[in-house]
């Protein structure tokens, strides 16, 4: 049993609405966090965006949003002093991988664009840094040496809503469906490497959950998604698969049964053994914007 007072065993799980699926995965025993004294912290949508870094603490700027964070936490926590936790798990957090994949794959297949490693690395870093939550995660890793793991918002679920409607994914990025496993692996490598540069272990979506080039299999949709038209949120099984995979980043996952993934204690490594992470001569050089 971890000591509640020891930050080394303390884990804060931060997220937007995707936190819900993660909690269910933990409650259902699909993810084993018994090594940690953990607590949740987060809110949905606009309330989540009220999360801010001020005077070295993570706060919530709006009073009404503060109540939402406190309610999700269950113990009334309205701010985080980074030193309270040595481990952080971010989930969702407005880092929309569909947008990253869509734009890049559209360029790749429709425009036959080609980019250098250096510019792709900058693209990935800029994409991640667009999320304030990500910047906070980077701050925790950089300034406090925290073990930070980040699960970005997964790819949109297929066959829930018509994605060819004006302004929807296939209207904007029709060529993205041409993506093969190697194309997706290359994009995941960019994100994993960019996060590693910030000291963050970013978990890619398991390849076995992907369909139609750039979508998540509908089998991994949250229960009732067809009825509600929810192509965003995923099942607890999906979250567990993401968390329980070995830290090989973009290695395709095959033969996994989404109904009964083996619960494995998550590691929170910073990814030193991850072959996808950059070495000391990585071309990533220019710093992204601060928090």
């Amino acid at each position: 049993m971890p000591s509640p007072a020891d930050p080394a065993h303390r884990l804060c799980i931060i997220g937007d609405s995707h936190l819900g699926s993660l909690r269910l995965a933990i409650d259902e025993g699909r993810v084993d966090l018994s090594a940690y004294d953990y607590e949740y912290w987060g809110a949905t949508g606009a309330d989540f965006r009220a999360m801010w870094l001020k005077n070295g603490k993570i706060i919530v700027r709006k009073p009404e949003s503060r109540e939402k964070f406190a309610a999700i936490n269950g113990n009334g926590r309205t701010e985080i002093d980074p030193g309270e936790f040595q481990n952080y798990l971010f989930c969702g957090c407005r880092v929309d991988t569909s947008e990253f994949f869509g734009q890049h794959l559209q360029r790749q297949f429709a425009d036959k664009a080609w980019y250098s490693t250096a510019t792709l690395d900058l693209s990935a870093r800029a994409f991640l840094a667009h999320s304030r939550a990500y910047r906070i995660a980077a701050y925790l890793a950089r300034e406090h040496g925290a073990n930070v793991t980040f699960i970005p918002t997964p790819l949109t679920t297929a066959d829930i809503v018509d994605q060819t409607q004006p302004g929807w994914f296939l209207d904007l990025y029709p060529a993205a469906v041409q993506a093969q496993a190697a194309d997706r692996a290359a994009l995941w490598r960019l994100l994993v490497r960019a996060a590693a540069f910030d000291g963050i272990r970013l978990l890619n979506q398991p390849e076995s959950t992907v369909t139609q080039g750039v979508f998540t299999e509908s089998a991994y949709a949250r229960a009732g998604s067809h009825e509600t038209g929810d192509s965003d949120h995923k099942s607890p099984a999906f979250v567990a698969m993401t968390l329980n995979q070995t830290p090989t980043g973009a290695t395709p996952q095959t033969g996994t049964n989404p109904a009964a993934p083996p619960p494995i204690t998550i590691g929170f490594q910073t990814g030193a053994e991850n072959p996808l992470l950059p070495g000391p001569d990585s071309p990533i050089s220019s710093a992204t914007s601060g928090v």
Binding site: S17, L19, G20, R23, G42, G45, L122, G167, P283
Partner: protein, 352 residues
């Protein structure tokens, strides 16, 4: 007795056209040969001053087109640092007519890809555009792939453009005496190693530039017979000269040659015109007011003045233009429903 100077418009006399009106009231400096409409696909290339033209056209709602856009999500600064969004393709600055011809020949498979690569600190630089990747390419293969991508963009630009605006910058350049490759910069300045035996200084004369410009025009017409070419001359002086002359007189020589060649091409070819951005910045009537204190960089007011003349003379000759309505980005209509779904997901997990 009547003669050709009796009934000139006021712009035809120095007193009424210049002296009486002063620098800020000058008008009709340009009588364009062809209209440039907002719907026309415009591409730009040339020396550093040319980058202002593309941006100004874009800001005015003209279809300046970037055929080699930056990777998604790159910041504007990172994009520009890597040569994106500056011109319509990622060639970097093209200072000479012969350099543009070289790029076109490469893009349209009329020359073998240069094998020369510059190496510095283990990174690889393209002699045709060494500044394009500030930290160099990872390996020669990446350099070649990047150049192929630019050649593809260049082909698409030439074949799809209605108007090509090219700003002539220099007559001085360096070539490899063995391979004939023209360099964008002197070897050894940014990367590469200077070799006096191999690297040859060239200062093109009026005849050479005119010949190259004629070749360029014919080349462009072969690939796109409807393409209109608008030439300008950069008002930015030389940073340095290898001619042995003073940099001031070397600048005069270079700009004079370019100005003459551009004017002759505009006289000789129906679909070629010259726009006097050079005169608007450099002429004594403006008393150097558009230059920064170093008397080299052109300040934003100068760029605004140049583009003011560009648009007002276009409108004067061809009438006002109607700008296309900005396109409204379509947004998913169920954002509210999505918010509700997010709440439900959280409630399911946390309010049990």
């Amino acid at each position: 007795m009547p003669h050709p100077y009796n009934d000139l418009p006021s712009s035809g006399y120095w007193r009424t056209g210049v002296a009486d009106v002063g620098p800020h009231q000058l008008s009709e400096l340009w009588t364009p040969k062809f209209a440039i409409r907002p719907k026309d696909v415009v591409v730009t290339a040339g020396s550093c001053f040319a980058q202002h033209i593309g941006k100004a056209l874009s800001d005015e709602g003209y279809a300046w087109t970037d055929f080699e856009p930056a990777p998604p999500f790159l910041s504007d600064q990172d994009a520009r640092d890597h040569g994106y969004g500056v011109f319509s393709f990622r060639t970097g600055n093209i200072y000479t007519v012969s350099m543009l011809l070289q790029w076109l020949r490469l893009a349209f498979d009329q020359m073998d890809p240069p094998e020369e690569v510059w190496v510095k600190d283990g990174r690889y630089y393209d002699p045709m555009r060494p500044a394009i990747e500030p930290n160099g390419f990872a390996d020669p293969g990446e350099l070649q792939a990047a150049r192929d991508a630019t050649c593809q963009s260049l082909r698409r630009a030439i074949r799809n453009a209605d108007v090509f605006i090219f700003t002539l910058g220099l007559t001085e350049h360096w070539t490899n005496s063995q391979s004939g490759l023209e360099y964008a910069l002197c070897p050894g300045t940014l990367a590469g190693t200077f070799d006096a035996e191999q690297h040859q200084f060239v200062n093109a004369n009026a005849g050479t530039v005119t010949r190259d410009l004629t070749r360029l025009i014919r080349f462009l017409r072969t690939e796109n017979r409807n393409l209109r070419l608008l030439l300008t001359v950069s008002p930015v002086p030389l940073t340095a000269t290898a001619s042995g002359q003073h940099v001031l007189t070397a600048t005069s020589y270079s700009k004079s040659v370019l100005r003459a060649a551009a004017g002759m091409a505009a006289q000789d070819f129906k679909r070629v015109d010259y726009f006097p951005s050079y005169e608007i910045i450099t002429h004594p009537i403006f008393r150097g007011m558009f230059y920064a204190p170093n008397m080299r960089s052109v300040d934003p007011a100068g760029v605004r003045t140049v583009m003011h003349h560009f648009f007002s003379d276009q409108h004067r000759v061809f009438g006002p233009v109607s700008r296309p309505a900005p396109r409204n980005a379509a947004l998913p209509s169920d954002r509210k429903a999505a918010d509700i779904r997010c709440e439900e997901v959280m409630l399911d997990a946390f309010a049990r």
